[in-house]
Subunit: 126 residues, 2 copies
């Protein structure tokens, strides 16, 4: 078995633009919910609060997921990939992750087939 | 239910650098295996061959995953997120996805705890 060193934080490689992609996955059933980007501040806030924070590239600001919709993500574990340039948030997702009303942002195939579960009416939330 | 239109391919937004992140997830047990980047050519080759192709940013070339190690990924389905700028490959992974010998590249927590399964000896493969 490999080493277990629970005291040694992994140094995340935020790269040139200061962001890393983070995958949010349902901690319970394994569904991949979304991908967004994380800044050092977003990661720090996520670890401090236990709720997923990202960096919105379109709004150019720290983004507390669910801050306005109430559809927050309680982060149960944060994993880092082998190159330390991608994060995996294992989360307990409130209602749905996608602004379209679906549980997951990956609600269609590349062929345009609808495969995702609709869990709320976006007109009532946003 | 929403529309199902199996004939209408989703137009992927490859953005300024011509790449989108692609998450590879085990189609059977849902484990997130890796994240890599995909060019239009890599996506085309993936759809043509049924085996996952990426674009290696470090080598700056098309990358047939498992081409040298034999640890290929048979792609069962490709999903696209709501913004059409991230892909999800649902795959049947041969042996392991990570060059470190782990099944998944996400084999440790951000606290440095080892959580992943080791499935091969990288010294014997590479």
């Amino acid at each position: 078995m490999s080493e277990v060193d629970a005291d040694a934080d992994v140094t995340v490689d935020f790269g040139e633009d200061g962001l890393v992609p983070a995958i949010a996955q349902d901690a319970e059933d394994g569904e991949v919910l979304m991908l967004a980007y994380v800044s050092p501040e977003a990661l720090e806030r996520t670890r401090e609060t236990g709720e997923a924070h990202y960096y919105s590239r379109s709004r150019e600001e720290l983004w507390h997921k669910g801050g306005s919709s109430g559809h927050t993500q309680t982060v149960e574990e944060i994993r880092v990939d082998c190159d330390a340039d991608t994060l995996l948030y294992l989360v307990d997702q409130s209602v749905g992750a996608c602004h379209t009303g679906h549980r997951s942002c990956f609600h269609r195939t590349i062929d345009g087939e609808h495969v995702g579960e609709e869990v709320f009416d976006p007109d009532e939330v946003y």
